[in-house]
């Protein structure tokens, strides 16, 4: 029987980022993509991912709002916020809410892969 792969959820309004992260982790993980908060919440109703990549600056439903909602679900998922922002004060708020990692765009492939594998290993 095929070993069940761990799930990574990527939430970002930019298709290019979704495609990129999918490409990075598709060999080892089941990667689910969500282009907005609604899709992400729909996914989270059924699945508890090992890890969630979250773009904090999404129009409409703000990334921070989504983060709050996810936190309220008390999932076992590791949460990593990805941001293109250059502003620090919003990142402070993200840290305060409690995330497991923060990745700035553009990120280094090797770095993000190592970082992710470490986190998932910790979880399991």
């Amino acid at each position: 029987m095929k070993k069940e792969r761990k799930v990574i959820l990527v939430v970002d309004d930019h298709q290019g980022i979704l495609d990129t992260i999918e490409m990075l982790f598709c060999d080892e993980f089941e990667v689910i993509l969500a282009i907005d908060a609604a899709q992400a919440l729909k996914v989270l109703c059924d699945i508890e991912p090992a890890m969630i990549f979250l773009d904090y600056m999404m129009p409409g439903f703000n990334g921070i709002q989504l983060l709050r909602e996810i936190k309220q679900m008390h999932l076992g998922s590791k949460i990593v916020v990805i941001t293109a922002s250059v502003l620090d004060e919003i990142l402070d708020e993200v840290r305060w809410l409690g995330v497991d990692g923060l990745v700035r765009k553009p990120f280094d492939v090797a770095q993000i892969m190592d970082f992710t594998e470490d986190l998932i290993r910790q979880a399991s």
Binding site: G16, D19, T20, M23, L24, P59
Partner: protein, 603 residues
Amino acid sequence: MQRTTLRRRLTLLFWTIIVSVVVVMGVFIARQGKLVLIDQARRTGVALTRSISATAINDFFSLEQKAEEAARDPEVAYIVLYDKEGNVAAYSGQGIPGSESEIPPLKEIAPGKDPIVTGSLLIGNPGPGLDIVLPVLLTDTDQIWGTVRLGLRLDRIYSQVQKTYWVIFMLGLSGVLIGWAASAHFTSRITVPLGNLVDATVKVSDGDFNARIEASTGDEIQDLAENFNWMVARLKDQRNNLMENLQEISRLKHYSDLVILSMTNGLITMDADGEIITFNRKAEEILDTPAGQALGSTPTEIWGQSNSVTRLLAESLSKRSPISDQEIQWPGKTGEDRILELNTALVQEENGRVIGLLALFHDLTEKKALEVKVRRADRLAAMGTLAAGLAHEIKNPLTAVRAFVQMLPEKHDKEVFREKFDRIVPRELDRVNELLENLLDLVRTPKLKIAPLNITECVDYVLETLEPEIQSRSIIVKRFADDEGLQVHADNSYLNRALYNIALNAVQAMPDGGTLTVETTANPVPGKKHLADIRISDTGTGIPQEHTKDIFNPFFTSKEKGTGLGLAITNKIIEDQGGTILVESERGEGTTFTVTLPSAAGN
């Protein structure tokens, strides 16, 4: 010279009249009384003489006896009997002198029966009296038998007359005194109220309007007093009204002076000849001219003929044309020019006659400097937003491209990677390129081909292009046009792009369906260019109130997809074509964009 008062004159007049009347009457009464008494005495004397002569006929003895008897009367001074020759026959009486020789003979025999009366005693001591001579005739004949002479004393009568005179004098005197008192009282009845009236008028003329005259004489004097009191009361009322009005006027004047003084604008008023009448404190400050120098002078005298303010004020006054919001340069104290805003208005009477000019100066220097600062800050803020937006938009494709390039050495032999690389990397690079193109659209001036365009055809084109999107969301489209042939002045392709952007936004705001309404109406503005409105409404989610002012800013977006440049470019296109774009939105109700463009009709 002492003035003869009315009272004195009237008293003197009445007294003179009374004295004259009393004197005339007194003299008349005294005289008449004396005459009456003397006449009575004469009659008595004649009667006595007749009775003596009547008894004497032919009987001398009886005659003598009768005469003796009569002579006893103290009133009778003497009785003398003469014979027919006129010689003294007998005599008696207290007034007879001692010797007979002193008794004068009868000078002539009385010829008739009537007595001869002489107004004084002829025998003895002279004195007041009557001398009566009567002939004694023989019985039944005219022959004279003798003559009787009787002397009658009038002493008693005279003393009675003296007494009467005295009584009359006393009566006259008391009449005069009573008359004096009466006239004094009577004149005082007139002159006292008149004096009061005079005093009262003096008081009133000195400003004491409480002066009143009390008169209860019940005649014209009282009428006069009452009329005077009424008149003074009226005067008092009128003066009080006048004082109140005066106070009100002075209060208003004080207030308007304060208003003019407190004005934050410089105020100048001039009369029709251009002479300055008002020059407030702010005007002194702004124009750096003391009011003392300005008041009563003309602008030419103060600032010279060629000064810009002088010219503008003179022109506004002479041409009767007000100036509004005219900006002028004015040399400031520090040497730097200040920027003033000048407004003028004609001061007109109700009938439209121009009696002067009013000018208001507002110092715009600080405001202008602030505006420059604000514009600079706005520009910096806009640049900041733009830079942040740009960074965000570029970092996403950049992240993707970088990651794929980094993955290339490791994964290039995988078919799925190569397939994704070929698709995603060019797409992300295109995205960056598109972003840059859009940014350039925002800044460069387009070459517009402005021509009359049928607006209905433009809307048709846009809706056809959007048809797949509309179909996929089951959106109902409603069209309204009050004139199918309505034309606007615009560039066809740019307008299509702008309308497409707005309609696309509308469609995207209704992911679960709704109604898209496109309405075109002529918008005639009296006296100005005719306009046309294109209203595009959706029944979508709406834009929060706080975002409506930002939606035309670059990189502002509330959509889940998009760069945030679409509406910024749309706004620029419409503005480049001389139009405006307006957004109204209600959360949960939908959004309406109104594009207003110059109409090709009626221009």
